[in-house]
């Protein structure tokens, strides 16, 4: 019987099959760990006298609670709170005690966990990958089953390298045709979530298919898969192809030499069979996708940038509009902006920074706007600086920061003030997400850069036309 890619990967990782009485025991190939969701799991192991079962399948870094300003004159990093510093030190202690590899400050690879996994080549096709972070779906871009777990499950994987899981349903999202100029992977996923809703993917594993998806580079596919969780999906994936293999070739933790070619031969088989059936199929015409932003307080409240804020009068829309400071029927373009954030596991990679820099080169950030550019990892920072992108951002008046999650989750002190409007390349626009009372407009790097220049929500296509 023809099988989907998801079915194939699932079947290959079943240790004990699912029954009516018990979920499957599913083997996990790669476990990514960060400081926020792991301390209580290590405590559990310590209390039970358990070791980490597979340290070589476990990889840790520091990203959520870390400052994005460099160390001061005293050599101390400016942690937001003593508790944040203690959380970082706790992961250092746990990693040393349990023998887990930690990509720490100065390692050259510390960064947002979903940026460094792929960039190290740790993320590979065919794998099962988990992390105590909902945006683990990012790694599905390589043709892997990748999903976020809670802290109890972090403990399960540390101790047993397995998880108890019920098999989700499958959903195909097919995007065919050519994307318009100025339309990026971020716009595609915001358009998808707007179309299927924030609970549209609940209980499902998504496979993104179609010519528009095949045409995305790996960083675009990561942006796409990253926000699968914002549609409620368990995970999202793209079948691997030459673009995937080219990205991975030569990465430090990928197979090397003849082993790599052997791996590619295996990876080529990782695709849904012709005639494989999905529980649900959604078809989207790429030509219908415009640069897309959110106007409300969840990622499904989005609209094409040249559209208006909905004038609907249902309670949810009214509440969201009021929180965001939008008028019913107001044009999105031209709405004043106070903060622009470029970064995060969604859009903090080198290609994202290149797009933003290309629009900012020779221009200035509007005087009203505070703009933060936060590279996704130490390697992204290094790569950007080698190309002089940091100089472009600084010359335009933006702040060039150290890597981390920063203003996406705003738990390290990088905050949007109450009532301020932020155009952000991150993934969540929930009330208070970027700071108490902060108003978040989700957007692509191009839209964010164009908005920084205008001091208001701006259509990047108009700016490009000026050039």
């Amino acid at each position: 019987m023809p099988r989907t890619l998801f079915d194939k990967l699932w079947d290959a990782h079943v240790v004990v099959p699912e029954t009516a009485d018990a979920p499957a025991v599913l083997y996990i190939d790669l476990h990514l760990v960060h400081e926020v969701t792991s301390p209580q799991a290590f405590t559990e192991l310590r209390q039970r006298g358990l070791p980490v079962r597979r340290t070589e399948r476990t990889l840790a870094t520091l990203d959520h609670s870390t400052p994005t300003l460099p160390a001061g004159a005293n050599g101390e990093l400016p942690y937001y709170t003593a508790e944040a510093k203690m959380q970082v030190e706790t992961l250092r202690r746990n990693a040393a005690e349990f023998g887990v590899r930690l990509y720490d400050f100065g390692s050259g690879h510390r960064g947002v966990v979903h940026v460094i996994g792929p960039e190290l080549g740790a993320t590979q096709p065919g794998m099962t990958i988990v992390c105590g972070d909902s945006h683990t779906s990012t790694h599905g871009a390589f043709g892997a089953i990748a999903f976020g777990i809670g802290t109890s499950e972090v403990g399960h994987v540390l101790a047993s390298q397995c998880l108890l899981q019920r098999k989700p349903k499958t959903m195909a999202i097919e995007v065919d045709g050519r994307l318009g100029a100025g339309v990026s992977a971020k716009d595609v996923i915001l358009h998808i979530i707007k179309s299927i809703g924030v609970e549209g993917g609940t209980g499902h594993a998504i496979e993104y298919r179609g010519s528009a998806i095949r045409g995305l580079d790996m960083e675009g596919r990561m942006t796409l898969c990253n926000m699968s969780i914002e549609a409620g999906a368990r995970c999202g994936m793209v079948a691997p192809d030459e673009i995937t293999f080219d990205y991975l070739r030569g990465r430090p933790l990928a197979p090397q030499g003849a082993d790599f070619e052997a791996a590619v031969a295996r990876w080529r088989a990782l695709a849904s069979d012709d005639g494989a059936s999905f529980d649900r199929v959604v078809r989207i015409d790429a030509a219908d996708i415009a640069p897309t932003v959110t106007w409300g307080t969840h990622p499904g409240m989005g609209a094409a940038i040249d559209a208006s804020v909905p004038a609907d009068d249902d309670a949810q829309t009214v509440k969201a509009r009021a929180y965001m400071g939008f008028e019913a029927g107001e044009a999105l373009v031209g709405h004043p902006v106070d903060v622009v954030f470029i970064g995060s596991c969604t859009n903090g990679r080198l290609s994202d920074l290149r797009v933003a820099a290309s629009l900012l080169r020779g221009r200035k950030v509007h005087p009203r706007v505070r703009m933060l550019v936060v590279p996704g990892s130490e390697a992204v920072k290094q790569g950007a600086e080698a190309e002089g992108l940091h100089e472009v951002f600084r010359a335009a008046g933006a702040e060039w920061r150290e890597p981390g999650c920063s203003m996406c989750i705003a738990m390290n002190g990088d905050l949007v003030a109450p009532g301020q409007t932020s155009v952000s390349t991150s993934n969540r626009n929930f009330e208070g997400r970027q700071g108490k009372g902060a108003r978040t407009v989700l957007a692509s790097p191009a839209t964010a850069a164009a908005s920084a220049i205008a001091g208001a929500i701006a259509d990047p296509r108009a700016l490009r036309a000026d050039q």
Binding site: Q40, M86, T90, T151, H156, H298, Q316, G432
Partner: protein, 189 residues
């Protein structure tokens, strides 16, 4: 974990749809390395103003809300991040069960692992509970039903394994560790 067979309480209704985990516990409370004491952070920005004073207009602060163990929430409760701090905070606040017509996957999994009974009801029955805040309910895991004292009844389903763990008060790690031989055999394949 204590075994749970039955939860009896008046309900607290938060009818908003898509209550995300950033509302349940804002990210700034996630720097803890413990899982205890998070009840104060539960719905913090709904319960406290910018100066940290209790908001009088928050149902969650009302004296009559205290001790209510059953939360009835609008559709798609718990969407957003995977933070297990969300069920930890709700449990520490005093909730033992949450009922909605849709509950986000990761939140539900986290909740059930911690003894917070996450129940999905059919939309019409869910709507009835939303419309009748503060009623007395009894959730019975044995019969997988919810009743009020006047004969209203709704059935629900719960994953058989999660239900058994709840009713026996056992956590799932012990079960996984008992699969060691199968895991070793898989690794040698």
């Amino acid at each position: 974990m204590n075994p749970i067979t039955r939860i009896q309480s008046t309900t607290l209704v938060l009818p908003q749809e898509n209550i995300d985990t950033d509302q349940i516990i804002p990210a700034r409370f996630l720097t803890t390395t413990e899982r205890t004491g998070l009840g104060r952070a539960a719905f913090y920005d709904w319960r406290y103003d910018g100066e940290g004073h209790e908001r009088a207009d928050s149902l969650l602060n009302a004296p009559e809300s205290r001790g209510r163990a059953i939360l009835v929430a609008g559709r798609n409760f718990g969407c957003g991040s995977s933070r297990e701090h969300a069920p930890w905070a709700l449990l520490d606040y005093g909730f033992q069960a949450v009922i909605s017509s849709e509950i986000a996957d990761i939140f539900r999994s986290n909740a059930l692992k911690n003894g917070l009974v996450a129940i999905v009801l059919a939309p019409d029955q869910h709507a009835e509970l939303l419309a009748r805040p503060g009623i007395e309910l009894c959730i019975d895991l044995e019969s997988m039903s919810i009743r009020d004292p006047h004969g209203w009844r709704a059935g629900f389903t719960l994953d058989a394994f999660a239900r058994r763990c709840l009713m026996m008060g056992v956590d799932q790690l012990g079960y996984l560790l008992a699969q060691r031989a199968a895991i070793e055999a898989f690794e040698e394949r």
